[in-house]
């Protein structure tokens, strides 16, 4: 690999032990990816700071770097922690787990990360601009920032993100490069009426189908209404990255690298054409919706973290009603959005409905089955995929309005 003089100095240890460590990993991995040189990057989103996922080895990694004196050299945001950092006791997180999470948080904070603790860093700052070279981990965030914003990150995972943050470099390859960002498969939505504008639950199903059918190939989707919301594209990103390896998609007329089908395909012919009909999405729903009856006992919203507009929509759907006794309704979001909700009074409104809002964390790390819950209602294709295996719960899938009804009635039809 060709390195600049400065990069060579970093690798040699002249700029400190931690930078040399990061550089060694970045260059080794870059060589495996077939990159010939490195590029400077301007922002990082670090995954792997959740103790339940990273384990003791992940904690060893973070604490070793912290001891070496590692510091991030570009603005770096953090993915979810294993706990609601301020309110973990209220959510029955065991002391031992909380302590390991605290050590993990402390190690990363010592490196100078921004404590965002969110899986949806694109909902709050700092945001990269179109075309900016960045290193983001967390699959839903990668798909969203590449596709909806047009900043450029490859599909990165745990640890390499940290190495990029302390060196400010990434291998030059993959989705960093224009030629690898063009669409490969033309996906046409056919036979849909108004429902693509009214039923937001379709986008999680569409994402799930795309991930399943395409693996890591890049789709160009035509037929999505131009007024599709960012929340819908967030749902699509998360579901596609959970069912497959969707890291980039184009929506014609909507996403910035897809003003037209031709431009989205980079002037080439599609390698494959796929038609998606309402029936296919119904089949995906039947697969995700594992609950047999209509009873649900826990509702979880905010995978990825709830946006301000989603919280607004949920409150409107609740229409002053309260969560039914014996039913729990959890909403997961980040502190920036929570701050906005507090400022406008929506937070008070949410609390009055009996909903419990958690920040900094993710429901997938909570032992819901052990707490006695059986059936989870959610609007998230990603939750729906993981809840049966990771949480041991049946799933009822529906949009935010349906989830609000489920919270009030304990049933989802």
């Amino acid at each position: 690999m060709k390195l600049t003089l400065e990069e060579k100095a970093m690798l040699s240890g002249r700029k400190g032990e931690a930078i040399a460590f990061g550089m060694k990993i970045i260059t080794q991995l870059g060589e495996l990816y077939g990159a010939e040189e490195l590029i400077p990057i301007s922002q990082v989103h670090v995954d792997g700071c959740c103790y339940q996922t990273a384990g003791d080895a992940g904690l060893d990694f973070a604490e070793k770097l912290a001891r070496m004196g590692a510091k991030v050299v570009v603005p770096t945001t953090t993915n979810v922690s294993g706990r609601d950092i301020q309110r973990w006791r209220r959510f029955r997180i065991p002391e031992s787990l909380s302590e390991k999470s605290r050590r993990m948080e402390k190690a990363y904070l010592s490196m100078g990360v921004i404590p965002t603790w969110t899986c949806a860093p694109y909902l709050s700052g700092p945001l990269p601009r179109f075309g900016e070279q960045i290193v983001w981990a967390e699959s839903n965030a990668i798909a969203y920032i590449n596709s909806v914003v047009g900043a450029r990150t490859h599909r990165y995972g745990d640890y390499i993100d940290v190495c990029a943050a302390i060196t400010g470099r990434a291998p030059r390859f993959g989705l960093h490069l224009s030629e690898n960002r063009r669409g490969e498969v033309l996906v046409t939505l056919a036979g849909f009426g108004r429902e693509l504008s009214t039923d937001t639950s379709l986008y999680g199903l569409l994402g799930y189908l795309l991930g399943r059918l395409l693996g890591n190939r890049i789709p160009v989707v035509e037929g999505v209404p131009l007024n599709v919301t960012a929340d819908c594209l967030k749902a699509l990103s998360a579901a596609g990255a959970a069912s497959g390896s969707l890291a980039m998609f184009h929506v014609v007329g909507v996403t910035p690298e897809a003003p037209t089908v031709k431009q989205a395909l980079g002037g080439r012919k599609p390698k494959e054409r796929i038609r998606v009909t309402p029936r296919q999405l119904k089949e995906i729903k039947a697969e995700l919706h594992t609950a047999r009856g209509d009873r649900v006992d826990v509702i979880a919203l905010g995978c990825p973290h709830f946006s301000y507009s989603e919280a607004w929509g949920f409150l409107q759907a609740m229409a002053g009603r309260r969560v039914k006794k014996g039913v729990e309704c959890f909403i997961y979001t980040n502190r920036a959005i929570w701050g906005d909700l507090v400022a406008t009074g929506l937070a008070r409104g949410l609390e009055r409905t009996g909903v419990r809002v958690a920040t900094d964390t993710c429901i997938l790390h909570w032992p819901l089955a052990r707490w006695g819950f059986k059936t989870l209602a959610t609007n998230s294709g990603k939750y729906a995929k993981y809840a049966p295996s990771l949480l041991g719960l049946d799933v009822a899938y529906g949009d935010i309005a349906k989830c609000a009804e489920a919270a009030v009635t304990g049933r989802m039809t």
């Binding site: 460590f21 060694k24 990993i25 080794q28 991995l29 495996l32 990816y33 995954d47 792997g48 996922t53 990273a54 384990g55 003791d56 080895a57 992940g58 060893d60 990694f61 070793k64 981990a137 699959s139 599909r155 990165y156 995972g157 745990d158 640890y159 390499i160 295996s389 990771l390």
Partner: protein, 148 residues
């Protein structure tokens, strides 16, 4: 009993030398959610090798599947000493290779990982003993043969 010895070329992904009984599958392996690092056992119910212990074996599989957190599972296995002696793949999987790289830095123990051609991959079978030398780029295969 005769032992047939054959030598094959391999490309290094991560450094080291490891030897053990071959555990071979044609299906990709999922590490995060598919492997129990505490016991070194495959727990992916959909996988043919479910229930098999990988510790100390040479794990031969085409490539890794699933979450990028798979590298963390490998680090955890190396930390606990339940890791395989070596891993042989067809497709290079940088995300998985990061596991042994970091484990080497953290725990000073190597887990050599190499790729081989599909033809070489197809040669290996259960019962072989494999000596994987990632540094020299070769695999020595000892196969129990019939007496001539």
């Amino acid at each position: 009993m005769n032992k047939k010895k054959s030598v094959f070329p391999a490309r290094k992904l991560t450094a080291g030398v490891g030897e053990g009984e071959a555990l071979v599958t044609e299906n990709p392996l999922t590490f995060w959610g598919g492997m129990d690092p505490a016991t070194g056992t495959i727990i992916d119910a959909q996988h043919e090798l479910c229930g098999k212990k990988v510790s100390g074996k040479v794990l031969v599989f085409p490539y890794g599947a699933g979450s990028s957190s798979g590298c963390g599972v490998i680090m955890e296995m190396v930390r606990l000493g339940t890791h395989p002696a070596a891993m042989v793949n067809v497709e290079k999987d940088p995300v998985l290779a990061l596991g042994p790289m970091l484990a080497q830095e953290l725990y000073g123990r190597s887990l050599p990982m190499v790729t081989v051609s599909k033809t070489v991959f197809n040669y290996f079978k259960k019962g072989d003993t494999l000596r994987v030398d990632a540094n020299k780029g070769k695999i020595v295969c000892f196969r129990k043969g019939l007496d001539k």
